[in-house]
Amino acid sequence: MSLNAILAQTMLGLSQGVFYAMLSLGLAIIFGLLNVINFAHGALYMLGAFVALIGYSYLGPWLGQPDWHMGFWTALVVAPLLVGGLGMLIERFLLRRLYDFDHIYGLLLTFGIALILQGLFANYFNISGTPYPGQPESLSGIVNLGFMYFPKYRLFAILLSIVVCFATWFVIERTSLGAVLRAGVENPKLVEAFGINVPRMVTLTFGFGVALAALAGVLAAPIYSVSPLMGADLIITVFAVVVIGGMGSILGAIVTGLMLGLVQGLTQALYPPAANTVIFFIMVVVLLIRPAGLFGKVV
């Protein structure tokens, strides 16, 4: 394979990897703080994409203003807020009732929510996917990177995702807000004694993790068709990413997401039949050698 081809596959792998990174980051935050395995994460990612699509193509006509569209930039803000809000409602009214039980109950609840959301959207929208027509003019077109032609939009998605991921990491690992969050995980009683409302903090954190999924969904809308199953297809791979990175490790989720995107991209070029399995193969190897994951701490 020529150097150009390797560079090209690297870029493609990266554009896949940023989605893994954003989604596994949200999962890792939620697992780290709430000990909930959020199986609805894929469905919430799908929901983010649908907020963008509905806002652009359907909302205007519904409100009797067929010419009105909610643009892409608005969707980038509105979708995470709306879906994050839904996440907070789920945490406050459903998940909170299950914290005293085994983790499996949280998993079953979120799995059920995922099936309901998917079923609901599959009922009203085309399962093959509906194109999202709202990609801004300023981001359409192709850039010549020298070694390949690359869509401007994907370049934007890569940059924005990386910025969001590392900003999140910075807040959690390097600021006093993050310190409180981490302390709340270690010892909620003690943190409450300092006058911090831990239940509210947990709700907000869950909402934030979900908002990241919705943001990824909006970013994915112009690249892939918006379909009720787009999250279901992705979530299993993302769980594998989280396991490889180490459950609950923030940096682990980001780095592993990007890295596995690259590995997958190169596999697609070198040996395509293994492209969908390579991540799971790595998962098996990592579990055998480092059961806590690459970045996980051995307890």
Binding site: A5, L107, F111, Q118, F150, S225, M247
Partner: protein
């Protein structure tokens, strides 16, 4: 690794494999038809809930009963898994007395169910799967292949593209029976016309990002990038080919199997100009428009060629039961072989001994946005490929049944 996660993995596995829908209870004294298809997965827009509606319409139009017995309908989701499909089919036949199974999109499912049903003397009307094997080496007495096969699909499309100068072909192929079979028969057409195959890549089924494969295709220097895949895979590959500007830089895309729902999902802006072969387009004749309008009212979507095929094959089966005076499979199959099928889907169709139902196919072109006059005004019929050119001649078929 923490315990919760391992429990989670096991639980999820159990949830995903245990989700087959329950069928109705056992029945006696009725003719029972089962629609076995993909209700929610990668091919559900092609042959999913819409095909159940099509079967309902056929039963309704037939009058709801045959030989004085009620016609019952049941349906199930095979989840694209041959083992799930086989166990549903076995239960339907052994316990629920299902007399005919229709649908079976996905060739792995189609071959498995046809084999199983034939051993149990049950008629299958395959409307969804494409593999030519269904009527070739794996043909069976009770298995009928109704709508399209991998032999017929490339005849119109590949011929038109090679004749317009597309000599060098690169294949992006769905990595299972159907994709390989489609690639093989397309390559045959291309090479017979003096073209050549310069490369191929096998992509796993249900890939969301085809850009890597498209890049390989693009750098191969081929004139035509042929997509030997279906459903969401086709939609994603066409969409991403446009995103990377591959079409703008002069290479042509050939969708070897494209459905109306795919064109709808892509939008005319992206799909315009794409040529492909189909067995049915709603806006072709007065009859097809009339039926499709009724379907649209029930399903909110225009029928794919598979939906139309489910209707036509179910109706043909019921007519054969009536003519035979029994629902016993041998008698019905004999009747199906003798009768001429005439409806909006097929004219003077007949089912060959190998189970194939040859009929005219149509080369279509996706309209430009400016040519389209409504939300479903998507295609223009370019030419008709007569049944005898589209399908393999019965004397050339490798079906072992023909030697007997």
């Amino acid at each position: 690794m923490n315990k919760p996660f391992l429990t989670a993995v096991c639980t999820t596995g159990a949830l995903m494999f245990g989700a087959a829908q329950a069928a109705d209870g056992p029945s006696d004294g009725s003719v029972k038809i089962g629609v076995l298809t993909d209700m929610s997965g990668v091919y559900a827009a092609i042959e999913g809930p819409g095909s159940v509606i099509a079967a309902e319409m056929a039963i309704e139009d037939f009058g709801g009963e045959v030989l004085g017995k009620p016609i019952e309908l049941t349906s199930a989701d095979h989840q694209e898994k041959a083992d799930v499909a086989s166990s549903i089919a076995r239960r339907w036949i052994d316990r629920d007395n299902v007399d005919m199974i229709v649908g079976m999109v996905n060739s792995a499912v189609g071959l498995a169910v046809q084999g199983l049903a034939s051993d149990k003397k049950t008629i299958t009307m395959n409307t969804g799967a494409g593999s030519q094997e269904l009527t070739e080496s794996q043909c069976s007495k009770y298995g009928i292949h109704y709508v399209y096969d991998t032999y017929a699909l490339p005849v119109g499309t590949a011929t038109a593209m090679v004749e317009n100068g597309g000599k060098k072909w690169f294949f992006i192929t769905a990595d299972y029976t159907f994709g390989h079979s489609l690639q093989k028969s397309t390559a045959r057409v291309v090479e017979n016309l003096g073209g050549e195959v310069v490369g191929e890549v096998n992509a796993p089924l249900a890939t969301s990002d085809f850009s890597s494969y498209l890049l390989q295709a693009s750098s191969s220097g081929a004139d035509v990038i042929a997509l030997a895949n279906a459903g969401n895979d086709t939609v994603n590959s066409i969409k991403q080919a446009h995103e990377f500007g591959i079409v703008d830089r002069g290479q042509k895309l050939a969708g070897m199997l494209v459905f109306l729902s795919d064109v709808k999902a892509l939008g005319l802006e992206t799909a315009q100009g794409l040529q492909f072969t189909t067995a049915f387009y709603w806006d072709r004749t007065e009859e097809s428009r009339e039926w499709s309008q009724r379907f649209l009212e029930k399903h909110d979507e225009m029928p794919t060629m598979v939906d139309a095929g489910v209707y036509s094959s179910t109706l043909a089966y019921l007519k054969a039961v009536e003519a035979a005076g029994t629902d016993e499979a041998d008698a019905v199959r004999a009747e199906l072989g003798d009768m001429k099928i005439n409806d909006f889907f097929v004219k003077d169709g007949s089912i060959e001994p190998n189970g194939l139902m040859p009929h005219d196919m149509y080369l279509v072109r996706v309209k430009q946005p400016s040519e389209s006059e409504g939300p479903w005004d998507l295609l223009e019929v370019v030419s008709t490929i007569p049944a005898d050119q589209a399908y393999i001649a019965t004397e050339d078929s490798a079906c072992p049944l023909l030697d007997e």
